[in-house]
């Protein structure tokens, strides 16, 4: 199912696309690749650094506000990245309130302000938006490592810092790599954030070839190239860790947090609050201010409907996607050959494709199938069926699954690495059937991973735009559709209301899933 859309995109490679390629190569391609490369490296490194450190502190150390931060640091996940981007620009741009105030106090010549419309600016915004992927997964890893690993580290004569770098960090690698891959794929697929900054990336070229030069073929070819790049990255990452084993020998006791005291504790509190402030509070406050200005005029009965649609779609998509991911992980476990592994990788690659391109890749085969079905019905039974699949929620759910399989696969796959062969053998020795092993042995171990996956998919579907726009049935508008409607014309005040609703609606499942992971 997932192969078909990706295949549809890749099949464009064999269709000549005229002179669009030549033009790109002659003019902008080199610059785009450099931009994309630095953005990818910057966001991956930044997200990993921020995500892992915050995960470590909240999972293992005790400092003021730890309980609060452990879930609050996930909140930025509920804010679409381009919203963070717009707020950041709105506040820190030359014409924004911060710089304007500084100019008023210090005079226009006396002060210097870093240019937010820069490569670093885009990277910072994306790191703030995407670090929770790493945070959520890495935290899950550190929590499930239990205290045994740290005890072992201490018995080997390592201090805490060494224990972290020599033991805990390498052991958490599948999780960290998984989270970073998600952030990276999200970065490569992003269009909204870079568009707000007018920072040209590979995605920009894809959209330009399609929307401005009317060549969907050239756009798909560029997208195929993107698939190849991502595939290469995945393979390299896999090679690096293929010879490692990550299993705990037994379910270990919950770690007792290391108490931090004095300035260290407060430093970490400050670090966590700073991240939370810039990644979540500031955007939400700005959105809130905008939303209040329009709430009376814009808020109506329909918002309940948008909200209901968003929640319903997200819940179903999370359920479906996690189930499929679980099946995939099991398939790869049962037949660990390279063909299965390859198939699994390909099926998660939809996440790195720009949404609109993927939406078309999904839509074309479905429309074709629909046409074929109605043709058959006409010929065999002489009835006019109209469109059967298209315009139903089935299409939407398949599309979401195609896009977000990577998001659910990563945490579940990482969790699966904890289930060793010896666990299975022990279960068999105890006379448990395959099903009983799954329910009583595997699922408890996988629980954290599954809930993490569900939370991620849920929030991602809430925010998703291009696929929702393309595949929704008539009248099935969601909060993100509403945001699209308002932002296309740059009306941010009006977009703020659905955006705030979306953020608030995304919070509840996040907190719920987080609590499930903890317990």
């Amino acid at each position: 199912m997932v192969l078909v859309p990706v295949g549809t995109v890749i099949s464009s490679l064999f269709v000549p696309a005229g002179d669009v390629w030549q033009h790109l190569v002659e003019t902008t391609l080199a610059g785009l690749l450099v931009n994309t490369f630095w953005l990818a490296v910057g966001v991956a490194a930044g997200s990993a650094l921020l995500g892992v450190s915050l995960a470590w502190f909240t999972a293992v150390c005790e400092f003021p506000g730890r309980k609060f931060f452990s879930w609050a640091l996930l909140l930025p996940l509920a804010i679409p990245a381009y919203v963070t981007a717009f707020v950041a620009l709105g506040l820190f741009d030359y014409i924004g309130p911060v710089q304007t105030a500084l100019r008023t106090w210090l005079g226009p010549d006396l002060f210097w302000f870093p240019d937010i419309r820069s490569r670093l600016g885009v990277i910072i915004v994306m790191v703030l938006a995407f670090y929770p992927y790493v945070y959520l997964l890495a935290r899950n890893a550190f929590l499930t490592q239990g205290k045994r690993s740290l005890e072992v580290a201490q018995s080997l004569g390592f201090n805490r810092t060494q224990g972290f770098f020599k033991l805990a960090l390498p052991m958490a690698r599948p999780w960290i790599a998984g989270g970073t891959m998600l952030a990276l794929m999200e970065t490569l697929a992003d269009f909204g954030t870079v568009a707000v900054f007018n920072y040209d990336t590979f995605t920009t070229a894809i959209y330009k070839a399609w929307f401005a030069m009317f060549s969907l073929t050239a756009a798909s070819q560029l997208a195929s190239l993107l698939i190849v790049i991502v595939f290469a990255v995945i393979i390299v990452e896999q090679q690096f860790r293929s010879r490692m084993r990550y299993a705990e020998t037994r379910q270990s006791a919950k770690a007792i947090p290391i108490p931090l005291t004095g300035w260290r504790a407060w430093l970490i509190s400050g670090f966590a609050s700073g991240t939370l402030f810039f990644a979540f509070l500031l955007p939400v406050m700005q959105l809130g201010i905008w939303a209040v200005a329009v709430v009376e005029r814009d808020f109506d009965q329909r918002y309940l409907e948008f909200l209901w649609h968003s929640l319903l779609l997200s819940a179903f998509a999370a359920l479906l996607t996690c189930t499929v991911a679980l099946l995939m992980v099991y398939a790869a476990r049962r037949c660990p050959d390279s063909a299965t592994r390859g198939a699994v990788h390909i099926s998660t690659i939809g996440y790195a494709l720009p949404g609109a391109v993927l939406a078309v890749g999904i839509f074309i085969p479905i429309a074709w199938l629909d046409g074929w079905l109605s043709e058959m019905a006409m010929q065999l039974f002489h009835i006019e069926t109209g469109l059967l699949i298209q315009g139903t929620l089935v299409t939407m759910l398949i599309a979401y699954m195609t896009r977000f399989l990577a998001v659910s696969h990563s945490p579940i796959d990482s969790a699966m690495q904890r289930v060793t062969g010896s666990i299975d053998e022990a279960a068999m020795g105890l006379g448990l059937s395959g099903w009983a092993t799954l329910c009583r042995v595997h699922l408890p171990i996988l629980k954290g991973g599954i809930f993490t996956a569900a939370a991620l998919v849920f929030v991602d579907v809430m925010k998703e735009m291009p696929i929702t726009l393309m595949t929704r049935p008539f009248g099935w508008d969601t909060l993100s559709v509403r945001i699209f409607e308002m932002t296309t014309e740059g009306q941010w005040e009006q977009a703020a209301l659905p955006a705030v609703t979306l953020v608030l609606a995304g919070l509840l499942p996040l907190i719920f899933f987080m609590r499930q992971t903890e317990s």
Binding site: Y94, Y207, W210, M213, V360, F363, G386, L387, T392
Partner: protein
């Protein structure tokens, strides 16, 4: 899975037999729904619609082929309508009403699509730093006197692409490329992602002039009347102000051509044109309809009357030209 299918059947498209027109619209809901509501009130015909960007809507129409549920396509620029006609997605509409309501330069010569509102692209300047007498044409903004004083929206926006396409039609590619290079050389800051921001930069004195659609200016001034900004209508001695349209065509495989034609005619009628122009401070296409008073206050101007089809025909070339000139 079974549950999902049951669910889908339950919530899926229902076969309704009331008369209706199905519209794929790239013009966003709040700028199109008032017109649909008025149409339904007048005729009893329901309008079902989805909104999306032009590119995905065209791809969708094409993929659906003759199974498409869509009767009508609405876009917010001429280029995509031209492209839809090129791809064979639209059908000609013979209608005396439309011919009378929509001037020839604002519809397709083969009548496959019609403009419904006019979007005028104009020059906005800082009233404290620029005198209207300093300004003349789009082309003149490439001259050295504007060095470091120009702000522009990104070349990725279709409004700039069609402006440049029209310039190619008028001056040829070589001369146009020189002009665009001149613009780029005069930029005070890198191109911005939206027009409102560009105008705010002008108002803040970071730059002195920008090019923007007049309704963006209208919206900004409504919110913040104190800004030191004003409109200048360029190219009045020559070919006139560049205009684009938002417009519509009837799809080739429309199920309900008569109702769709009625809707299209209604949208060009005086009743709908008043709404069209007022909800977004655009200009009506129908010459018998006056613009909104707030819009009329910006003064009258001469429009460029090259057929807007040109914007579509030359769009791809314009994009390449801007890439070569380094206009991001």
């Amino acid at each position: 899975m079974t549950a999902i299918f049951c669910f889908a059947i339950f919530f899926g498209p229902s076969a309704s037999h009331a008369e209706q027109v199905v519209v794929y619209s790239a013009r966003i809901e709040q700028l199109i729904k008032p017109m649909f509501d008025a149409f339904t009130k007048d005729t009893g015909i329901n309008v079902k619609f989805v909104t999306d960007k032009e590119g995905p809507l065209l791809a969708r129409l094409k993929a659906e082929g003759k199974n498409t549920p869509a009767d009508m396509l609405i876009t917010s620029d001429a280029g995509n309508l031209w492209e839809a006609a090129q791809e064979g997605l639209l059908r000609p509409v013979e209608s005396k009403t439309l011919q009378a309501n929509v001037p020839a330069y604002l519809h397709d010569p083969r009548n496959q699509w019609f403009g419904l509102s006019v979007r005028a692209r104009t020059i906005i300047y800082n009233t404290q730093k620029v005198k209207p007498s300093d300004l003349s044409t789009y082309e003149a903004l490439a001259e050295p006197q504007w060095k470091g004083r120009l702000c522009l929206r990104t070349s990725k926006k279709v409004y700039n692409q069609s402006l440049v396409a029209m310039m190619i039609a008028e001056h040829g590619a070589a001369r146009t490329e020189e002009i665009i290079k001149g613009w780029v050389a005069n930029l005070a800051i890198d191109p911005l992602s939206d027009e409102t921001k560009a105008m705010e930069f002008v108002a803040a004195g970071r730059c002195d002039v920008t090019i923007a659609n007049s309704y963006y200016y209208g919206r900004l001034m409504q919110k913040n009347p104190a800004l030191p900004l004003a409109i200048f209508w360029p190219n009045q001695e020559g070919s006139g102000v560049h205009v684009n349209i938002s417009g519509a065509g009837i799809t080739k495989y429309a199920h309900n051509v008569p109702a769709a034609t009625r809707l299209l005619e209604f949208l060009s009628s005086e009743e709908a044109q008043n709404l069209f122009a007022d909800v977004n401070m655009e200009y009506p296409v129908n010459p018998r309809v006056k613009p909104d008073p707030a819009v009329a206050a910006w003064g009258t101007f001469k429009q460029n009357t090259i057929n807007v089809t040109t914007a579509g025909e030359l769009q791809a070339e314009a994009v390449k030209l801007m890439d070569r000139a380094g206009y991001r």
